[in-house]
Symmetry: none
Subunit: 189 residues, 4 copies
């Protein structure tokens, strides 16, 4: 179980990385935010980059675990899909700051750690692709390219971090309903 201080640091980092960006956030900024000296921070973290990597992993892991749970449940593909949309948008909007850091700042990572994140997000894409493939196989969804469809849906859902404001009027479930309607039935009359 991680110490309180570490969690404080992580939270401060999320907020700062989201507000100013990873590069524009100095280790000093983070230290200030938690009331520690710059040097003292290194008792808890091994470096600025590892902080970001940890953040990103923490975020993507949550997505993957939830998605795996949904996939392994006993429901129609259509229901799973609705559930997945709700889950994804709920995670994105519940902690937009963390989502933003994952989706916007991961590029700041070096080659190796970036690869680590990429693998986790690739897995997430695979899970969605599998869900869509299952639906097609089950005859619930029209035949098509499930990977491309997954990319489109995830793109639409991830993009939410760009415009969602925590104080916005739309609840994540409302967004999920609208998106589900769009992806299930399209816009055509």
């Amino acid at each position: 179980m991680a110490s309180n201080k570490y969690e404080e640091i992580v939270q401060a980092a999320v907020e700062l990385f989201e507000k100013k960006g990873y590069h524009a956030t100095s280790v000093q900024d983070i230290a200030d935010a938690v009331g520690l000296q710059k040097g003292s921070l290194y008792h808890y973290i091994s470096g600025k980059e590892d902080l970001l990597l940890g953040l990103a992993q923490r975020a993507i892991t949550e997505f993957n675990q939830r998605m795996e749970r949904i996939l392994s449940s006993e429901r129609s593909a259509q229901d799973k899909m609705k559930e997945a949309l709700s889950m994804h948008l709920e995670l994105i909007t519940h902690d937009v700051q963390l989502s933003t850091v994952l989706l916007r700042e991961s590029v700041a990572l070096g080659e190796r750690p970036q690869q680590v994140v990429k693998e986790a997000t690739d897995l997430y894409l695979d899970l969605w692709t599998r869900l869509l493939a299952e639906g097609i196989e089950a005859g619930e969804f029209r035949p098509g390219n499930p990977r491309m469809t997954a990319l489109a849906i995830l793109g639409a859902c991830n993009w939410v971090f760009r415009w969602y404001q925590e104080d916005g009027t739309l609840r994540s479930q409302a967004i999920a309903d609208i998106y589900a309607d769009l992806f299930f039935d399209g816009i055509k009359k």
Copy 2:
């Protein structure tokens, strides 16, 4: 008519910003890429940030102009929509590097220039929203929230820069066809 050297610099910047990110790209890197001394660059550019701003504006302006042309054409909303999808994906994939810089690196801009870019992209969103609203009004599209739909579609389309490889197998028109099918008719059987 802009000088050749300036265009060379701009192109080098696009490539470097895309490959390494804005922050990880030093002015020295750009200078090296065009075979100039660091100081000599400043005959052509007024600063690193202006280079990025110029790039972003150049990119978003193209999107806006093309979209305005489509909107003002005499066609059904459905046709315009197909055209818009093709156009957007064509622009994204034709110069993925530039698109990536626009969509991924604009955050590196300071407050003011970032606002400038935001205004241009907000306009683009408005144009898409208008297109969808027209379709609903014309009875071609099902009633709904056109702004939300535009956000979903644009999210899906923009996300392409994250996975598209120029040497990929898919032509932008193929992607457009798949996306159009998804957005028009949905995945449900």
Copy 3:
């Protein structure tokens, strides 16, 4: 109590600014003088300009405090004037380097900090003007324009930094005596 290192830096800066001038002195020069890396300097100072501003303020403050003490003492205007001349020349010659930086390098400051210094030196002029006005009112000095007289006397006294050498033969009190004689009785037989 300021740290030793900071005082070392300040002293090095005074010496370098005096010897080479503010602009010709690089932060590297100062770092070298105190045996620190350039970057390490910034633990103690917030910038080169602030170093100069601090120096100038430190110097002018001393002048003002001493002058206020003299003004508020119970003596004839003539005695106060003698005292003020001694004080001013003592300060100038005791730390010619600091005086030189104050009088010669303050122009290097930006608009705002320069204004700060100007206000302090304006106050000093006011104190001298008040002293002269008191003397006129008391009937000790001939009627005249006390501000102009103050400007003349201060000009003469400040100019000393231009020719005084610490290893010179003249003690500051000797200069004060000569100047007092000149300003009190003039050169005419």
Copy 4:
């Protein structure tokens, strides 16, 4: 006879050096002021420093020539002194900008050129010293240290550049009268 363009450059340099200081004035600034490209300037000047040196020499030479003329005239020491005061203050105030550059910016010169200026100003001090010595010898002035007196008087007079505003209310002759009164008879009743 120097070309018009050269005079234009010199004048622009005086104005800029006075307004912004030598170091803060770039060659580009001067070029802009005369409507030339930076490179073209070098057809007229051999460098930025030479420009300053030329300016300073031009200024100090004028002082020296005028002073020599006064010294060699047939008048009482007292009259010469009055004349010298008028002349000095007239020169200072008539072209405060040039005076300011001479008195404030000469430090920016390198060792050698600075020495050149110093020699010229030392000569000027000698001329004043000689004038005062003559007056003492002639029994017009009280015995004393003529060099010290000259330093005091010149200090007072030079200081004028620090507070004189061209649009000020005081004519240089008015200043000269007040200063003459001070230096001849002192402030004591």
